[in-house]
């Protein structure tokens, strides 16, 4: 995933000095939040809550419906481009060599997100790849400012992982994005698999049923 973060216009000398004072203070507050903000990985039940917010809980849906509902909720335009191999023969090869299956681009200025996936992907992998990238949008992973991402080594077996607080932007998830990129990827995979099953099962999903039987 790639993010185009708009550059702030702090060209004036006064604002420049102010920004200079502000940076360490902001870093301090972020560091503090990193210590306090932890959460475990997303559960299927929590994902069902997200679906309820989108109005998809208990309904059968396709990835297109999820994309449309997510775009509407986040108030952004989401475009999915499935690129046939005949158009860009090199795309599949380059993605395959880099170990990726798709690419997500997001522009905060233009309020648009674009997902690019090669058309030669097997249908199930294509579906999961698109849902994976949509999962990043839902989690608010793209709202993390580049200097805030943290690659601290965390034990995989830990129940809770460090998160980063977001200062702006809208996300669907209740929790903040994880500081570590591998965890963000893991959670996007989880979201994709939850979405696939929830979309297939509709009101036969045990988690959808739990929302109408709280006692």
């Amino acid at each position: 995933m790639r993010v185009d973060v708009p550059k702030r216009d702090l060209t004036g000398p006064f604002l420049g000095k102010l920004a200079g004072f502000w940076r360490p203070l902001r870093s301090l507050s972020v560091a503090q939040a990193r210590v306090d903000g932890t959460r475990p990985l997303l559960t299927a039940a929590e994902f069902q809550e997200e679906l309820a917010i989108l109005g998809l809980s208990g309904r059968r849906f396709e990835p297109e419906d999820y994309s449309d509902a997510l775009g509407e909720y986040l108030d952004i335009s989401i475009a999915v481009h499935v690129i046939p191999d005949s158009w860009h023969p090199e795309l599949s090869r380059l993605l395959a060599i880099s170990g990726r299956l798709g690419e997500l681009r997001y522009s905060e200025q233009l309020n648009i997100a674009a997902i690019f996936v090669p058309g030669s992907l097997p249908p199930l992998v294509l579906t999961l790849t698109i849902l994976h990238e949509l999962g990043h949008l839902a989690a608010g992973d793209l709202l993390i400012e580049p200097d805030e991402s943290d690659e601290d080594d965390q034990h995989a077996g830990e129940a809770k992982f460090t998160t980063l607080p977001l200062k702006k932007g809208k996300k669907l998830a209740r929790g903040d994005p994880f500081a570590e990129e591998s965890l963000r990827e893991r959670e996007a995979n989880l979201r994709a698999s939850y979405a696939l099953f929830a979309g297939c099962l509709g009101d036969d999903s045990p988690h959808a049923f739990d929302m109408y039987d709280v006692l």
């Binding site: 809550e49 990835p63 395959a96 579906t127 036969d204 049923f209 109408y212 006692l215």
Partner: protein, 461 residues
């Protein structure tokens, strides 16, 4: 027996009968955390009212404490229900909020505040009662204004939260496309909460009448209200019992879903994506010529699109499994067999196999979605294992379909597998010979096409 003791006896009796019913009929058949909690509360209420009926606890602060203790279980029930609707219970007691609450953060916040507000009000009422004691347990006795304050502090929040919970249950029950059982269940809980809200309103009015209504008329007015309260209590217990006894078993259990997610889906995604990477990155370079010939042979033999896809998927798998390069090291016969077995597990369950599907492409609603059974991979895995796996674990193909012959001939021709093994497996019959002829014709056609393309490119201008 005084009027207060008589009322306590009635309410205690109702609570005890309800507790026995819960214990004997409801809990053995459907034990939820809430039903156990409700049963404990009923027992507590029954014991409290029995104590009031048997021992004269009237007088001073003792009376206040007994009155507060009899209200406590109802307050706890309302708090639990509100917290459950808001999804605020601890994880081991249930985490999901009711569907209508999720989309309304203000409603969620209000419901989540119930335990705090209700217990705070109860505590405040206790302080008021202890500072200015009143005849809280003497049902028809005149009472000072402090008694109205005490009752109001407990009953007004209780009534408001119960009413709010009743509304949420109605909203949950009215969700479009909801199964009838859930509709009835939520309606029953809504009725139960309306009963609690009505009891709270009735109690507040009752307290006001005791304060401000004097003379003989007071008892005559209060007696029907007392009967109404007992009737509402019975209706409330019956409504909750009905709601709790209605059960629904989802078609797919949570544990099965988790197993599918961590087992089959993860394995198939990894397998297919690794295979795609290997092919796209240029590993298995023998594949491109073989797959063109396979498609052409399928066309010559008049095979369907579905069979052609299976043939293509199989030749790709064979090519990747037999490729010695590093990129294809994870696509092994062992991995293919594991995935095939996981798919077979799903196919054993007809309901599950029919429900799990995925789109054949992005925004391709016109084409049929793929299932584990209909996707080319399932048959391709079996066919590829039959062709590649010479360890004896493969069962072989008894009467192979035509596309299998084409793949076998193609794989042998491209030296992916031993031609002698193919001849032996296909018993060198008429079908095999016909397929070899069709495959040769396909290769000739492709060579002619390639020569034509070359001539076109070489032509000057």
């Amino acid at each position: 027996m005084s009027a207060a003791q008589h009322q306590a006896l009635v309410l205690g009796g109702v609570s005890f009968v309800a507790f026995i019913f819960f214990l004997c009929f409801l809990l053995p058949s459907r034990r939820t955390k809430f039903s156990v909690f409700a049963a404990c509360n009923l027992l507590f209420v029954a014991l409290m009212f029995s104590a009031v009926a048997l021992v004269d606890l009237s007088g001073g602060r003792t009376e206040i404490m007994v009155a507060v203790m009899t209200e406590l279980p109802v307050v706890l029930i309302v708090a639990w229900v509100c917290l459950a609707l808001a999804g605020g219970l601890p994880a081991q007691l249930g985490t999901l909020p009711a569907e209508p609450v999720v989309r309304r953060p203000w409603l969620r916040a209000m419901l989540a505040s119930a335990p705090l507000v209700l217990l705070f009000s109860l505590g405040l009422a206790t302080i008021v009662g202890l500072l200015w004691p009143s005849p809280a347990m003497r049902v028809y006795a005149p009472a000072p204004p402090q008694f109205f304050v005490l009752k109001g502090l407990i009953m007004v929040p209780e009534g408001l939260y119960s009413g709010l919970a009743a509304l949420v249950f109605v909203m949950a029950g009215r969700a479009p496309g909801l199964k009838r059982r859930f509709y009835v269940k939520n309606l029953a809980f809504s009725v139960g909460m309306v009963c609690i809200a009505s009891i709270a309103s009735e109690s507040t009015v009752f307290a006001g009448l005791r304060v401000w209504l004097g003379g003989e008329g007071r008892r005559a007015t209060l007696e029907p209200l007392n009967t109404l309260e007992a009737c509402l209590a019975i209706a409330c217990i019956l409504a909750f019992t009905a709601g709790l006894s209605l059960r629904y078993t989802p078609a797919v259990a949570t544990t099965l879903l988790h197993r599918l997610q961590t087992g089959w889906l993860r394995t198939q995604e990894q397998f297919e994506s690794l295979e795609w990477r290997a092919v796209s990155a240029g590993a298995a370079d023998r594949l491109s010529h073989a797959s063109d010939a396979v498609v052409e042979a399928c066309r010559i033999k008049g095979l369907s699109e579905s069979d052609t896809q299976k043939a293509l998927a199989t030749i790709r798998l064979v090519a990747v499994m037999k490729d010695p390069s590093g990129e294809t090291q994870y696509i092994t016969p062992g991995a293919a067999r594991k995935l095939y077995e996981l798919q077979e597990e799903i196919l054993c369950d007809d309901v599950l196999a029919s429900k799990i599907s995925w789109a054949a492409g992005w925004r391709s609603r016109a084409s049929e979605p793929q299932t584990v059974k209909s996707a080319p991979l399932h048959d391709a895995l079996k066919a590829a294992l039959d062709l590649v796996d010479n360890d004896g674990e493969s069962e072989g193909v008894l009467t192979p379909p035509l596309w299998y012959y084409i793949v076998a001939v193609s794989a042998a021709d491209a030296k992916m597998i031993d031609p002698a093994h193919v001849s032996m497996q296909l018993r060198d019959g008429a079908e095999h010979r016909a397929t070899v002829e069709a495959y040769d014709a396909a290769k000739r056609a492709l060579r002619a096409l390639e020569a034509l393309r070359q001539r076109m490119e070489d032509r000057p201008g």
